[in-house]
Amino acid sequence: MIFEDISLNLQAGKAKVVKELVKQAIDEGHSAQDILERGLLDGMNIIGEKFKNNEVFVPEVLVAARAMNQGSALLKPLLASEGSTAVGKVALGTIKGDLHDIGKNLVRMMMESKGLEVIDLGSDVPAEVFVETAIKEDCQIIAVSALLTTTMNNMADVVKAAEAAGIRDKVKIMLGGAPISESFAEKIGADCCTHDAATAAETAVSFCQ
């Protein structure tokens, strides 16, 4: 019952209620992993599907993800002590020359809701920073966003930098943003492009399995 309450309140974006319910669930002796999967992730998965089906929209996803993050912050130390680990690690950012970040922020939240650890590099990120972060943090994925047709060409530099650093076969490079197409991703040697945050998160999880 408490898991359902967590899920429903998360879907409604009620971060304070979600935090209280997570605390209650902990106090009731439920495992952090159960609270995460049956409460928080259950709610985010439903929101993700509704977002793909145009039943909810960006603001609803953002507030639900905020509730998710605030609830899961309480679980982090417990998850670590239970031996739970992140599904995978992602170095995420908007490419150099581009300041647009709302799509990137949404992708971050959806990826975190799927249990991925995301290092958000912000916007206007040079190619070498993506690669250096991926090496330092042992990321399985580099995810790059661009909204401008002038900056999207800089995404090719990320692929080249990964090759030069000798990690291209160790990381998947994902692209996203309005002007990005599958043919463009293929042309520059990236692994894929995705067109919405929910699919980006699902794809990232599949890359880590």
């Binding site: 974006g13 145009n54 909810v56 929209f57 960006v58 603001p59 609803e60 953002l62 507030v63 905020r66 020359g97 300041l99 647009h100 970040d101 709302i102 922020n105 401008l148 047709t149 002038t150 900056t151 309005a178 002007p179 197409s181 463009f184």
Partner: protein, 327 residues
């Protein structure tokens, strides 16, 4: 000029009105950074497009940083890209209440108004349309486009306080553009296009309607532009705004829009600016336009256009192929 009448004529003839201005920088040999800060260059850009293409109207730059800059938001300029607003000028109700509505000498408002005046002196055979941001998109740039999404839930009073000031400023700016000689305004409200229909009604449509009611007249049209992903879910609300025409991006299927729209409502769109004008070829552009006409050309209320403003470095071969495919 009666822009509405000309748009209906364009619809009958399949004449196009793409959002085409920035690529003039290539013809003029100037940078975007120079153009967005210089009235003479803006006028030259509009003249260039009016003279060298079959567009049915000249459109000023779709630069969505101008109005936010006037309020005091920080602007970052790029050599060959549109300027971007950075930072968060307003974060809560207290700051929203303290926010001053700028006068029309702030920032580059006078530059853009003067650009319209100069263009109107030189372009006589086509309407001159001024670009202007919509109220929710402006408010988002003042409150940060991501943070405003949270604030709509957490502090709607703060958002409405800024929206009221944004609308008041846009009405004043619109009147100045009208006085400078503009035949109409292309109002861009893309940020509202990622909201739910209910949130769009609360935080955008009512303010857009205020602006349209204050500015639109028989000889001064408002064309409402929204290229957001959620637009298909809010068409009823959009069509109730009372604009003379509605312009859609390539996130929506144009045929679906036309199937929903009452036939007395003009709808425009939506060849992909990045996918075709920049990354396409003349052949792919021709195919895209022919496909658009095949699906939408029988609708009497359809005007072919781009899906959004065409980037500065778009291929002029593709631009010409767009018009050629319609002729």
């Amino acid at each position: 000029m009666n822009v509405k009448a000309l748009l209906w004529k364009a619809a009958a003839l399949h004449a196009a009105l793409p959002i085409l201005s920035f690529p003039a920088a290539q013809k003029l040999g100037v940078t975007v950074e120079e153009m967005v800060q210089n009235a003479e260059l803006q006028a030259q850009a509009m003249c260039c497009i009016a003279e060298q293409t079959d567009t049915m109207a000249a459109v000023s730059l779709m630069d969505l940083s101008v109005e936010a800059e006037a309020f005091g938001a920080a602007v970052r300029f790029f050599h060959d890209e549109v300027p971007a607003i950075t930072g968060q000028l307003v974060s809560d109700l207290e700051e929203a209440e303290a926010l001053a509505v700028p006068d029309l000498t702030a920032g580059r408002i006078m530059t853009c108004t003067e650009g319209i005046r100069l263009a109107k002196e030189r372009i006589h055979d086509k309407p001159v349309l001024a670009g202007m941001i919509g109220p929710f998109s402006l408010t988002g740039r003042l409150m940060d486009v991501t943070e405003i999404m949270y604030l709509c839930f957490d502090d709607p009073d703060a958002v409405h306080t800024v929206l009221k000031k944004a609308a008041a400023f846009l009405i004043a700016y619109g009147k100045a553009l009208k006085a400078a000689g503009a035949d109409g305004i292309l109002m861009a409200e893309p940020l509202a296009g990622i909201l739910s229909p209910d949130m769009a009604e609360e935080f955008s449509h009512c303010y857009v309607k205020q602006i349209i009611d204050a500015l639109q007249e028989e000889d001064f049209s408002i064309i409402y532009h929204n290229c957001g992903n959620s637009v298909a879910s809010m068409l009823d609300g959009i069509f109730a705004l009372g604009a003379d025409a509605y312009h859609f991006g390539n996130a929506v299927d144009m045929e679906t829009v036309l199937q929903t729209a009452p036939q007395e409502i003009l709808c425009m769109g939506n060849i992909d600016p990045a996918g075709q004008f920049v990354q396409g070829t003349p052949e792919s552009m021709t195919a895209a336009v022919q496909d658009l006409l095949a699906r939408c050309g029988t609708y009497p209320n359809f005007v072919p256009s781009s899906g959004c403003d065409i980037p500065a470095h778009a291929s002029w071969d593709n631009i010409q192929a767009f018009f050629a495919a319609l002729s």
